[in-house]
C-alpha cells in the first residue's frame, strides 16, 4: 500500500488501531442510553404525534383543511415535499459520487448521510401520497391492470415520472445503505454479550462472515450501485423539477431547472448532514473520526453547490429580461418586489450570500459557525421551494385569478410533525446502528490515520538522512 501525499490532512486522528476503531464506533451502541437521548426522543416523538394528528385530520376531512386554494393549488405540501426530497440527496451523493471520485473523507459521514436520506425521502413520500387528496387510492398511480375501462396512468405526466423516480430512489438508497451495514452488523453481533441483542444483530447481519469472496462481491456491488446511483440522484431531482418545468407557467418553465434543482438538493442535503453530524460527533465523542477537515470539505462543497445555485438564480433573472417575454419578466419582478418579496430576499440571503462566508477559512473551520450556517442554508432552501411555488401561483397570467396564500394550522402541524418524525427515526438509527462505517473506515487507517502518516513521514525523513 503506497502512502498518500504528506500534504493531505489525516482523516483519523489519534493513535488508532483496528480494534480501537471498532471500540470507538460501537461504544454508543454498547453503552447506556444517555439522558439527552431520552429527552430529544421525547420531544421528537411529541412533535411527530402532532404531525400524525394533522395527517389524520387531513385524511378524515380532506385537503380543504390546508391553506391551498383554487389559484394556489400547490403550496406547503409540494414545498415540503421538494424540501425533504432535496435533503434526501446528500446521502447518495456522498456514498456514490464521492466513492467514484475516491474521496476518502466520505467514509466518516456516508453512513449517517444515507440514513438521513432514507428518512427524508420517507417524509417526502408522505407528502406526495397525501396531496393526492385520497391517499387510500394511491395505488392508482401504479400501472396496474384495472376495472376502469383499461385506463392506464398517463406516462406523459411528470407527476407519474415522479412516482417511478421516488420509488426507485428510495428503494435503491435503502439497499445501498443496507449492503454497507451488513458487515458492521456482523462486527456488533460478534461483540454482543447480551443474548437478545446478539440475536437481533445476528438477524440484521444476514450471517455475514467477511469471506474473501464475499468482500470481493460486495466491493463490486457497491461500485455498480454507486455507478447506478449517481445518474439516479441526478434523475430524481431533475424529474422533481420537471413537475414545474414542463408547464408553461412563467417562472416554472425554464430549461435550467433540472441541473439547478439537483445542485440545490445537494446543497441543502449537505447542510442537513452537517447539522446532524455536528451533534452526533459531539454526543458520541467521534471528533477523531469526523475531524475539522471533514467539516471543511463539506463546507467547500456547500460553497460550490451554493454558488451553482446562485448562478442559476441570476441566470433565470437575466433570461427573464433577455427573453423579452412580458409574462416571464413579470414573474420575476413579482418574486423580487411583489407581496411575497420577503420570501425571495430570504432565499437570496440564505442561499447565495451566507454560504459565501465559507470562503473565510476561520468560518469554515469553526464548528459553531458551520452549525449556524447549515441551519441558515436549510431555511434558505425551504424558501427557495416556497418562492418557486407560492408567489408564482399567486400571480399567474390572468389577474382575475390572482390570489394570496396563508398556511393553515394543519399545514404547519404537518411540517413540524415531519421534522419530529425525522428526528425519531434518526435518533433510533444513531442509538442502535453504527453511525460511522466501521469496516470502510478501517480500510483508510493505514493511509490516512494520523499515527500511520507520522510513521510514513519519519520513515521518509530517515531515508533522506541516509542518502
Amino acid at each position: 500500500m503506497h502512502p498518500e501525499s504528506e500534504i493531505r490532512t489525516p482523516l483519523i486522528l489519534g493513535n488508532k488501531t483496528y480494534k480501537q476503531i471498532t471500540d470507538d464506533i460501537i461504544a454508543p451502541i454498547e453503552g447506556k442510553t444517555s439522558k439527552w437521548w431520552y429527552f430529544l426522543f421525547t420531544v421528537s416523538l411529541l412533535t411527530a404525534l402532532w404531525g400524525i394528528a394533522s395527517f389524520t385530520y387531513t385524511i378524515g376531512e380532506g385537503i380543504g383543511t390546508w391553506g391551498s386554494n383554487n389559484s394556489v393549488d400547490w403550496a406547503w405540501d409540494i414545498t415540503n415535499f421538494v424540501w425533504w426530497i432535496g435533503i434526501g440527496h446528500a446521502g447518495t451523493l456522498i456514498s456514490a459520487v464521492l466513492l467514484l471520485f475516491r474521496q476518502k473523507w466520505r467514509m466518516a459521514i456516508s453512513r449517517a448521510a444515507e440514513a438521513m436520506t432514507i428518512f427524508a425521502v420517507i417524509n417526502a413520500g408522505l407528502y406526495v401520497s397525501l396531496h393526492t387528496g385520497r391517499p387510500w387510492v394511491d395505488y392508482w398511480l401504479f400501472p396496474l391492470p384495472n376495472q376502469f375501462g383499461s385506463l392506464w396512468p398517463n406516462f406523459n405526466s411528470p407527476l407519474l415520472w415522479d412516482v417511478f423516480a421516488v420509488t426507485t430512489y428510495m428503494t435503491v438508497s435503502i439497499v445501498f445503505w443496507y449492503m454497507g451495514l451488513i458487515p458492521d452488523f456482523a462486527t456488533i453481533r460478534d461483540r454482543m454479550v447480551h443474548k437478545g441483542w446478539k440475536k437481533f444483530y445476528s438477524i440484521l447481519s444476514f450471517g455475514w462472515g467477511g469471506r474473501a469472496k464475499h468482500w470481493q462481491r460486495l466491493e463490486e456491488v457497491s461500485l455498480v450501485l454507486a455507478g447506478l446511483s449517481t445518474p439516479l440522484v441526478f434523475s430524481v431531482h431533475s424529474i422533481v423539477s420537471f413537475d414545474f418545468a414542463t408547464s408553461i407557467l412563467p417562472g416554472w418553465h425554464t430549461t435550467i431547472f433540472p441541473p439547478y434543482f439537483v445542485s440545490g438538493a445537494v446543497f441543502s442535503g449537505f447542510a442537513m448532514v452537517l447539522t446532524l453530524m455536528l451533534v452526533v460527533r459531539k454526543a458520541y465523542k467521534l471528533e477523531e473520526y469526523l475531524t475539522i477537515k471533514h467539516i471543511e470539505y463539506m463546507n467547500i462543497l456547500i460553497i460550490v453547490t451554493g454558488s451553482i445555485v446562485g448562478v442559476a438564480y441570476l441566470t433565470e433573472l437575466f433570461m427573464a429580461w433577455y427573453s423579452g417575454v412580458e409574462f416571464e419578466q413579470y414573474a420575476f419582478l413579482n418574486r423580487a418586489t411583489g407581496p411575497m418579496a420577503w420570501s425571495y430576499w430570504a432565499m437570496m440571503t440564505c442561499n447565495v450570500i451566507s454560504p459565501q462566508l465559507f470562503w473565510i477559512k476561520k468560518i469554515r473551520t469553526s464548528i459553531l459557525a458551520t452549525f449556524i450556517l447549515s441551519i441558515v442554508v436549510n431555511i434558505g432552501m425551504w424558501f427557495e421551494r416556497f418562492v418557486i411555488i407560492v408567489p408564482t401561483l399567486c400571480r399567474t397570467f390572468l389577474p382575475s385569478s390572482w390570489a394570496t396564500y396563508t398556511p393553515s394550522f394543519v399545514d404547519i402541524g404537518m411540517f413540524i410533525g415531519t421534522i419530529g418524525f425525522f428526528g425519531v427515526l434518526f435518533l433510533l438509527f444513531s442509538r442502535y446502528f453504527p453511525v460511522i462505517a466501521i469496516a470502510e473506515t478501517k480500510t483508510i487507517l493505514k493511509t490516512s490515520g494520523e499515527n500511520f502518516k507520522k510513521l510514513a513521514a519519519s520513515h521518509k525523513q530517515h531515508q533522506v538522512e541516509q542518502h
Partner: protein, 413 residues
C-alpha cells in the same frame, strides 16, 4: 519507479510537424475553395454565410476545447486531485492554445462588426432603430445587452481566461525549478488558490460567454440552460482530445510513467461527461419540446426540419457510443479502443458546434455535411495540434516537486 530520463523531453519531430502542416495545407486550400464556392450561392440575406459560419465554428470549437482543458486543470488544483499529476503537462499544453484561439475569435468578431459577415443578427445596422428597414422589435428590447457591453464582456473573457491559463502554467514551471522531492510547495499552493479563483470566474464567464458568442446567433431565442449545455460540450471535447494525445504520446514511447489507471480514469471521465452532456441535451430539448412555447420551440423546429439527420447523428454518437462502448472496465483499459471512442466523441462534439451555429446562420440553405466542414475542421485541427505540441515541447513531460506526484506515479485502482 524507474523513469526513462531521455523520454522526459518531448521532441516535436519532422514527422509530426509534416502531419500538422499537411492538415493546415489541406484545410487552407479547402477554406479558399469554400469561399469561392459559397460565393456562388445567391439568396436573400445570404452572403457567404456558410463559409463564415464554418470558419467561426472551427475557431470556437478549439478555443472552447482549450478552455475546457484550463478548467480541468484549475479544477484538479482546487479539488486537491492527485491522480492526474503525471498527465499535467498534457493538460497544460492543451490549455495553452487558448490565447491563439481567442485571438482568431476576436478577429472574427471585429470582422462581424465591420459587417463583413453576418453571423450575429444583432450586429446588423439599425436593428434597434424603428425607422430602419432592419428594425427588429424583439432584438431592440434586448439591445442593451449587446453593443459596447457585449464587447466589454468579450474583452474581459479574453483577458481573464488568458491570464489564469498563463499564470497556472507559470507557477507550474516555477515549481519545477526546485529539487526533486523537495518539500517546498509554495507554487503548488499558489496554484491551488489560483485554481479556486479560476473556478469562480469560470462559473460565471462560461455561461455568459456561451450566451454572448453562441446563443446570440439565434438572437430571438433564449434558454437558461444554454450556458451549462455549452460548458458540458467543451469539457467532454477537452477530455477526449487529451485522452487521444496521451495515448498517442505513449505509442511514441513517451509518458511511460503514466499508469494504466490514470488512462482508465480519463476513460471514466469521458464516459461520465458524455452522460452529463446528454443530460443537459435532454433537459433542454425535452422541456422545450414538452411545453411547446412558440418563442422557444423555433430553435428546435429549424433543426428538426432542415438538420434532422445530423441532429440524430450527433445525439447518437455523443451519447450511445460512449455509453455502450465505455461501460465495461476492460474497454476503458484497452487503449486502442479508448482512442477509437475518443476520436468519435471528439468529432461528435465538433458536429455539435456545427449544430449550434449553422441553423442560425445558414438556416434552410443547409445541404448537409460536405467537404467545406471537413476542410475547415482539418485546418483548425492542424493549427491546434501544432500549437499544442509546440507547447508540449517547451517543458519536461513530467512535473517535478509536485506534492501529489508520488500518488499519481503509483496509482493503481
Amino acid at each position: 519507479m524507474h523513469i526513462n530520463k531521455e523520454k522526459l523531453q518531448f521532441v516535436f519531430d519532422a514527422k509530426a510537424k509534416t502531419f500538422a502542416y499537411t492538415l493546415m495545407g489541406i484545410g487552407l486550400v479547402s477554406i479558399i475553395a469554400m469561399f469561392i464556392v459559397d460565393g456562388q450561392h445567391h439568396a436573400e440575406h445570404y452572403h457567404l454565410n456558410r463559409a463564415w459560419a464554418n470558419v467561426f465554428s472551427g475557431a470556437f470549437f478549439f478555443t472552447a476545447l482549450s478552455l475546457g482543458a484550463a478548467f480541468f486543470l484549475g479544477m484538479q488544483y482546487a479539488a486537491e486531485a492527485g491522480w492526474a499529476t503525471t498527465i499535467k503537462r498534457v493538460i497544460e499544453a492543451t490549455s495553452l492554445y487558448l490565447p491563439y484561439g481567442l485571438s482568431i475569435l476576436f478577429l472574427l468578431f471585429i470582422l462581424g462588426q465591420l459587417h463583413i459577415h453576418h453571423i450575429y443578427h444583432w450586429m446588423a445596422e439599425g436593428i434597434a432603430d424603428p425607422s430602419s428597414p432592419n428594425y427588429d422589435p424583439v432584438i431592440a428590447g434586448k439591445i442593451g445587452y449587446f453593443g459596447w457591453f457585449w464587447w466589454l464582456r468579450t474583452i474581459l473573457y479574453i483577458v481573464l481566461w488568458t491570464w489564469f491559463t498563463l499564470q497556472l502554467r507559470k507557477n507550474s514551471l516555477e515549481a519545477d525549478k526546485y529539487e526533486l522531492g523537495g518539500d517546498n510547495h509554495a507554487y503548488h499552493w499558489k496554484n491551488v488558490k489560483l485554481g479556486a479563483w479560476f473556478m469562480v470566474v469560470f462559473a460565471v464567464t462560461s455561461s455568459t460567454s456561451a450566451w454572448d458568442w453562441i446563443m446570440s446567433i439565434d438572437t430571438h431565442w433564449y434558454s437558461t440552460l444554454f450556458g451549462w449545455y455549452t460548458f458540458s460540450g467543451l469539457w467532454i471535447s477537452a477530455i477526449s482530445f487529451m485522452t487521444l494525445l496521451i495515448i498517442w504520446l505513449r505509442k511514441n514511447g513517451y509518458l511511460e510513467f503514466v499508469t494504466e489507471s490514470t488512462i482508465h480514469d480519463m476513460g471514466k471521465w469521458m464516459f461520465a461527461i458524455s452522460f452529463l452532456w446528454t443530460y443537459m441535451y435532454f433537459s433542454q430539448f425535452m422541456l422545450i419540446w414538452y411545453a411547446d412555447i412558440p418563442e422557444e420551440v423555433t430553435y428546435f423546429q429549424i433543426r428538426w426540419e432542415s438538420y434532422k439527420s445530423l441532429m440524430w447523428f450527433v445525439l447518437f454518437i455523443n451519447f450511445a457510443f460512449p455509453m455502450v462502448l465505455l461501460m465495461s472496465r476492460d474497454s476503458k483499459r484497452n487503449f486502442n479502443f479508448l482512442a477509437f471512442v475518443g476520436t468519435i466523441v471528439f468529432i461528435g462534439h465538433y458536429l455539435d458546434v456545427i449544430m449550434m451555429v449553422m441553423p442560425g446562420t445558414v438556416g434552410k440553405h443547409w445541404t448537409g455535411i460536405s467537404w467545406m466542414e471537413v476542410g475547415t475542421f482539418l485546418f483548425y485541427l492542424g493549427l491546434f495540434i501544432f500549437v499544442v505540441l509546440k507547447n508540449l515541447e517547451k517543458a519536461p513531460l513530467l512535473v517535478r516537486n509536485h506534492p501529489f506526484l508520488e500518488e499519481s506515479l503509483h496509482l493503481h485502482t
